[in-house]
Symmetry: C2
Subunit: 256 residues, 2 copies
């Protein structure tokens, strides 16, 4: 299993060199990642819809927690959620979209569950985007949390069941947890254990008919134009460039 992954990683590195040699732009690289990693499924954004971003610090991105207002810059933070929101509010100015960010730094799945009523269901989202999992793994690695990948899997499925029960037609977007090596926080101790969380997220997306965003391969492939630390300094939290990279991938998951 691990050997297979290493072979696949070597093939990937060969492929990214090829991508660079072909002089592809970053947006083209992302399209390539999508074509390779995802189905052609997209979420359609309709008039008057509520779009909710949920997750941990990557989604939170310094948003003002005491500002619950809609489509507000401070309330959206300055990460991928804000960048994707800005793009949607700009391109679909005639659609009366209502966009919220309720990511909270440090959150694991069980912590989303604890605040799900207030921070998700009460907002009645038509489109729900969730990126969660890196803390479920990382905090365990650091000895600050006991949950395993099975807990992550079970808790996230329960959360989505609960959501679907209340809103059967909610359009789901699940982001792949990602980690970039050669950075401050991510080293060889992360692998292959972390890959299990990525795999779980992908399988959950399939089970719930969600659009899956393959952030790991997006970040991997982006390294053909700049090193990992350019996109995320510590390997977990994206830089401005990394947030924009994520927003580009996120926006490929929707159509207007």
């Amino acid at each position: 299993m691990q050997q297979q992954k290493e072979v696949s990683r070597r093939n990937f590195l060969k492929n990214t060199s090829l991508v660079t040699a072909m002089g592809l732009s970053i947006p083209q690289i992302i399209s390539t990642a999508f074509a390779a990693e995802t189905s052609k499924k997209r979420v359609t954004i309709e008039k008057d819809e509520v779009i909710l971003f949920q997750g941990d610090s990557i989604t939170d991105a310094g948003r003002k927690k005491d500002d619950s207002s809609v489509n507000n810059a401070s309330a959206l933070g300055n990460g991928y959620a804000m960048l994707a929101a800005a793009e949607m509010l700009f391109k679909h100015a005639d659609k009366n979209l209502k966009i919220y960010n309720r990511g909270i730094s440090g959150n694991k799945v069980y912590q989303l569950a604890e605040r799900w009523e207030k921070d998700a269901l009460d907002l009645k989202p038509q489109v729900l985007s969730i990126l969660i999992g890196v803390n479920d793994f990382w905090h365990k690695l650091l000895g600050r949390y006991e949950g395993t990948v099975d807990v992550y899997n079970k808790d996230l499925r329960a959360l989505l069941d609960r959501t679907k029960q209340k809103f059967p037609d909610v359009k789901l977007i699940i982001g792949e947890p990602f980690a970039v090596t050669g950075t401050k926080a991510v080293d060889e101790k992360w692998f292959p254990a972390f890959d299990e969380y990525r795999k779980a997220a992908r399988e959950i997306a399939d089970s719930f008919d969600a659009v899956f965003i393959p952030y790991q391969s997006v970040f991997d492939k982006a390294q053909s134009s700049a090193p990992g630390v350019y996109w995320t300094n510590d390997g977990v939290h994206p830089s401005v460039a990394g947030a924009r990279l994520m927003a580009e991938a996120w926006l490929k998951a929707v159509k207007g």
Copy 2:
């Protein structure tokens, strides 16, 4: 003069109706505004360049003033400067760009001049983008400032002379001060006096061979898809959508 403006405004309204009838997208509308209002001049962004955004609250956009670090989300705020920076850092990941925001809320031109050494010249920018003027007019209207449009004109020219003396090859981008009516802060008392500041900024851009960004017509034309308050709640400070609109116009002023 004023009559001419009204005629031109009526023609503009006819044109925007036409634009809407033609079903143009917002990016197309911005291109139209650019084609009508500006020369084809663009600033070329080269490898290793320092790009500096200067201005008032519109540029500031809640940036953390105690964070002077480069390419940093908090230090870039969450307005048009951050959105334009994110786009450049994403698309030109291989160019090692260094992007700063030093806008400060409430600033008029003389206040830029007071901090110009530390907040502009010391950063040695190759590309310098300035958006200033709305407070020079607004604070006078509110009786909190005595400077006239002649002071604005003279002070901004002096600031650019000083900059060119130190960096003869600096690439300048001058944004047009703008105000959107039918909002909380902007009413008929603003016109036609405010238009003189717009005119001054445009003439200064011409004199200094700067690329001029016609934000007023960009905001005017955007109203064919959503009302003014959608783009700026008080008529001066852009919403998330308005900031993205400005970033789109700004990005049209540069090429990679």
